[in-house]
Symmetry: C2
Subunit: 303 residues, 2 copies
């Protein structure tokens, strides 16, 4: 198999995913649990090489494009947030220090918003990938995840965004709170019910959450229904607060199943038109767009 002419890297807090590409064609891919959260600065290059060393050619320098938490202050190299409004990509990429001369690593900066204070790191690349595939697109993006993001894009620029702690809250509550005894599995009816309750009375969230436990105890309610309702309550509360984003808009969702499907299902109950786009595909398209920003000398002429 021929050597990739560039490498795409999505480096999150808890995971590391790499792809070896020729143009936009994926030749190889690999992943590990060496996320930013468990690496000291000097640990990044070895963690990357552990996955890609075999892909590298001694005859050329392979460009590596990285998005995600590897660019945070505690990461490989800090790629400072760019202030919105601005295009999702476009500022200078930040070069990461490397000992291995076969590698040239650049990190994509995140975005920041001053009021209300908010930050994005990683999703800017997915947004850039989406815009590369949908030039001239204006509207609202929803990116579900640990920290879900609602993003308003206009004229190629990120105009405003809002982060919700929904995914992390779901993980904490379903795995580490008293609710863990009452939630397991999935049940669509429970989800729809939760979304409706969360949307209708989002201010009652803290009370509704405990009722999942109480219903488990008193009514021997199915834990599949409990877990789906927990997810629905949280997503419903998020949708209630994100209403200024989606009301009267078409929404493009960038995510992965099953979470993105759940968001789409919830938005469907509100008659919001939604198109769904694969998060990994958008990440790769965004990193390809980032690669095009590199000085020409960094791009070996393989094609």
């Amino acid at each position: 198999m021929s050597a990739p002419d560039w490498i795409a890297v999505d480096w999150g807090t808890s995971h590391l995913r790499v792809w070896g590409l020729q143009g936009d064609r994926v030749l190889r891919q690999a992943a590990s649990d060496q996320g930013m959260g468990q690496l000291a600065r000097e640990g990044f290059e070895p963690a990357l090489l552990a996955l890609v060393a075999d892909w590298l050619s001694d005859a050329q320098v392979t460009p590596v494009l990285v998005c995600g938490m590897a660019g945070s202050r505690q990461g490989w190299v800090e790629a400072p947030y760019r202030a919105i409004p601005c295009p999702p990509l476009g500022g200078a990429l930040v070069q990461a220090p490397c000992r291995d001369l076969r590698l040239s690593v650049h990190v994509v900066p995140g975005l920041k918003q001053h009021r209300p204070a908010d930050v994005i790191r990683g999703e800017e690349t997915q947004i850039a990938g989406f815009l590369a595939q949908n030039p001239g697109w204006d509207g609202v993006l929803c990116l579900p995840g640990t920290h879900s993001k609602w993003v308003h894009v206009s004229a190629g620029e990120v105009v405003s965004f809002q982060t919700f702690l929904t995914g992390e809250m779901f993980a904490l509550l379903s795995e580490r709170s008293v609710l863990r005894h009452s939630v397991s599995g999935w049940d669509d009816t429970g989800f729809t019910e939760g979304v409706a309750q969360g949307m209708e009375r989002p201010e009652r969230l803290l009370a509704r959450l405990f009722s999942i436990r109480a219903e488990g105890l008193l009514q021997a309610r199915d834990p599949a229904s409990g877990r789906a309702r927990l997810s629905g309550l949280l997503i419903g509360a998020e949708l209630a607060a994100a209403k200024p984003y989606w009301l009267g808009q078409r929404v493009a969702m960038i995510g992965a199943a099953p979470l993105a499907q759940h968001y789409a299902q919830a938005l469907g109950t509100l008659s919001v038109p939604v198109t769904c786009h694969d998060a990994t595909e958008m990440t790769l398209a965004g990193l390809a767009a980032a690669r095009a920003l590199l000085p020409q000398t960094e791009r070996p002429c393989v094609n």
Copy 2:
């Protein structure tokens, strides 16, 4: 020192606290981390004896009154919930199996509400203690804690109640979520600001939470302010949802510093009159009232 004529036990999920009393006078007390959560059924008696064995007399059976999670299905013995409306105590106490003939252990049952589904286990004893000290009292009780409770009491009966996951949510978010990097210490201004924001727009909770992290990153905001604001946002959201309980009422708070003080401070900003009562004192008064329910043969005549 003379032997206690009875023993009071508060047995929570994560702690065990015991008091040796003569009448209502505390002679001795002890505590351990042998909470219900880490004990199998056969572990309860040894965990209790580890604290009180030296207090017991061979010449008499010492009654032991227990409240809390030791009465749950996973506890020492299940003391089934009593359905409200009912007095906080009054149903039969449940005897726990004991090998040591010097002990006679009884567990106080919790309370249940069918719609909305909700349960109390432990706080019913504090409520009973409060009513024993304030006979004829009608009104609203607030019991802050891991799972805070709002309770409407009328004519000596618990009429309705509502549990909020506020305290557990605060612990999870401040210790285990991404916010842990941005919260440490305490700052009263941050708390008041959080309460106001949580009260005013409780539906924005999931977004406001992430802004604590973003403000830490972008504005180098003091983590003491972050932690106080986190607490304020959650308590403010609880107060918004608990409004039907406190609006136009005087509230009796049963809790421990500093949490009870924070709730009192938050209610103060709403001009709600609050009286504060010590949780341990109410627990002991409630267990004393439970002791009075025992058949006379169970009560050695020491006094």
